[in-house]
Amino acid sequence: MSRILTLRDALREAMVEEMRLDPTVFLMGEEVAAYNGAYKVSKGMLDEFGPERVIDTPIAELGFAGIGVGAAMNGLKPIVEFMTWNFAVLAFDQIVNNAAKTMSQSAGQFGCQIVFRGPSGAAGQLAQQHSQTFEAWMGTVPGLKVISCTDPADAKGLLKSAIRDPNPVCMMESEVFYGEKGEVPEGEYLVPIGKAIVRKEGSDVTLVSFNKQVKTCMLAAAELEKEGISAEVIDLRTIRPLDIETVIQSVKKTNRIVVVDESWPMFGVSAEVAYEIQKYAFDYLDAPVTRINAADSSLGYSHIYVDEYMPNPSRIIKGVKEVMYIKR
């Protein structure tokens, strides 16, 4: 049986179910308890689990991320919520220098089973400091796993897998998609980390994306359909490890690919996918790999800048026509 849930409800279900199953799992972060979460993801959790397991922190990202890492090294399974990943930048020392490295530096004696989660990506007119995308930043670090998904069912299944995963996992959500609805299976539902999914089958071109830009791809695909172009849409769901195999199989069928990635263009997910495709599907390509990214700029406040900055269906359609050598 499944029901329609919002992304925020699906994420909460994952945390609640895992906390019921495993008393060593706990949640900490700014406003997660009494305020029920800045974006209401943790609504009601304080009531069910009490203040020992649903913990409000001061605005001290470096400190509470580090406390999470220490607790994880000593056997607990923290879920650390960042109000957004923009503020997790203050905690990068603990995520990158400690969570990701504990296993390696202790030769496997100490693990770090911890989930860092929160929204990533632009969310309207929030300007430079509040609009950044962090998949590539975290995705480059060995020792971390990185999930980025806004489909409610998959986000629930992936978050449950992340909480059970013995490694540090970064989960990237989306501020503007917390209210996004989808069918979510009831009861135990796990989605494996490291597996992409074909959201829509197609034969002419492959669109690869993750997080909220998957929806932009779906909108573009629907438009393209009207022009007789059949686009396959792949949701990477996990950024590290990257399921390039699913992408390769698709490209072998369509021979054309457009990567849609809300990160800045240089050194990001789109660059990585493009590398892998030219390496492992070179002979199948009928056109160079093309990508649609956010603009190579900090994002200003005015809506004029937001419109210029973000990927959108018409930019994707233009990219598709480019790889299909359709002039217009």
């Binding site: 406003e31 309207g124 929030l126 300007a127 509040h130 700029s297 994002l299 800048y305």
Partner: protein, 339 residues
């Protein structure tokens, strides 16, 4: 009817001009912010938006205690302090609209007002980030051997960031000309100070660094003025940092999207009886420190100024889309990755 002349003239501690400045500064901010909320509700203004209503006496006291050459840096609750520092209502309102005529050409919006001319260094959206930055600004003033100070403001929530401790130590050690001000409005979003801080008197944080520290009533401009004047004199004489915890209250939600369910109606009502503008108006009536005609004149001119600012913002042009790339680098021909 009682006329100004009949009123019991108490011996004024400050000149009429000073009272007028306090009143005008506070009223400008209050009316600007009320208009901001109205325009937000009409979706002329978007994104995060945090208003200063309730905290105006801090800006007023700073206005008369500082010199124009002094520097300032604060957090995202920036409109009031920017107006105090000399940015115009026009350029601030246009910024909120995202127009090309805004103080940062529509690039920063509500959280990121800047003005080099007025030595106003922002407008920071990362809680606590401005604390070390403020010390750095002060470092440069000292390095250049000026006697200017840098006022560095942060909230009670920001006071719990680790960067504060590193900064307080270095600022003291290097005797930097910085005035740290914790605007303690008692809440960080929905969290009261007591729920996330073992120390609720934020003034104590300074003491562990041997920093001269005072707790100040932030609802009365003259109290703020006097504390800041003391602090500024200390700092200008080369003795290093000074720290004020200024107790205040915000009457509105944390941001426009906050219904404020974490505090009681009674608490809010109590603090409204301490409204810095209401209290000052009341004392003018009692004492005649500022004549009625002058009060009315200020009210009228502020009203006109804010209406004019909105009209200016409405009529101003949007920035051009290409402007998105400008100012990432100094070079205008920087090779951006556009494909």
């Amino acid at each position: 009817m009682q006329t100004t002349a009949d009123k019991k003239k108490i011996k004024a501690k400050y000149s009429e001009e000073t009272y007028a400045t306090w009143y005008e500064t506070m009223l400008r901010i209050r009316r600007f912010e009320e208009k901001t909320l109205l325009m937000y509700s009409q979706q002329k203004i978007r994104g995060f938006c945090h208003v200063y209503i309730g905290q105006e006496a801090i800006a007023a006291g700073l206005k008369t205690a500082l010199r124009p050459e002094d520097c300032m840096v604060t957090a995202y609750r920036v409109h009031g302090l920017a107006l105090m520092k000399g940015l115009t209502s026009r350029e601030c309102m246009a910024e909120l609209y995202g127009k090309d005529t805004g103080c940062v050409r529509g690039k920063g919006g509500s959280m990121h007002f800047f003005s080099k001319e007025h030595k106003f260094f922002g407008g920071n959206g990362i809680v606590g980030a401005q604390i070390p930055i403020g010390a750095g600004i002060a470092f440069a003033e000292k390095y250049n051997k000026t006697d200017n100070i840098c006022v560095t403001l942060f909230g009670d929530g920001a006071a719990r960031q680790g960067a504060l401790h590193e900064t307080f130590n270095m600022a003291m050690n290097w005797k930097l000309p910085v005035l740290f001000i914790c605007e303690n409005n008692q809440y960080a979003m929905g969290t009261s100070v007591a729920r996330t801080s073992n120390v609720t008197d934020m003034v104590k944080i300074g003491l562990s660094y041997d920093m001269p520290s005072e707790q100040v009533d932030g609802m009365r401009p003259e109290v703020v003025h006097e504390a800041v004047s003391r602090a500024a004199e200390h700092i200008r004489s080369g003795k290093g940092p000074y720290y004020l915890e200024i107790k205040t209250y915000r009457y509105r939600g944390h941001s426009v999207s906050d219904p404020g369910l974490y505090r009681t109606k009674e608490e809010l009502e109590y603090y409204k009886t301490l409204d810095p503008i209401g209290m000052l108006e009341h004392s003018f009536k009692e004492t005649g420190l500022l004549p009625d005609e002058r009060v009315l004149e200020i009210q009228e001119s502020i009203k006109d100024e804010i209406e004019d600012a909105v009209q200016f913002a409405e009529e101003s042009p949007w920035p051009s889309p290409e402007e998105l790339y400008i100012d990432n680098y100094v070079e205008r021909d920087y090779p951006f990755m556009k494909d």
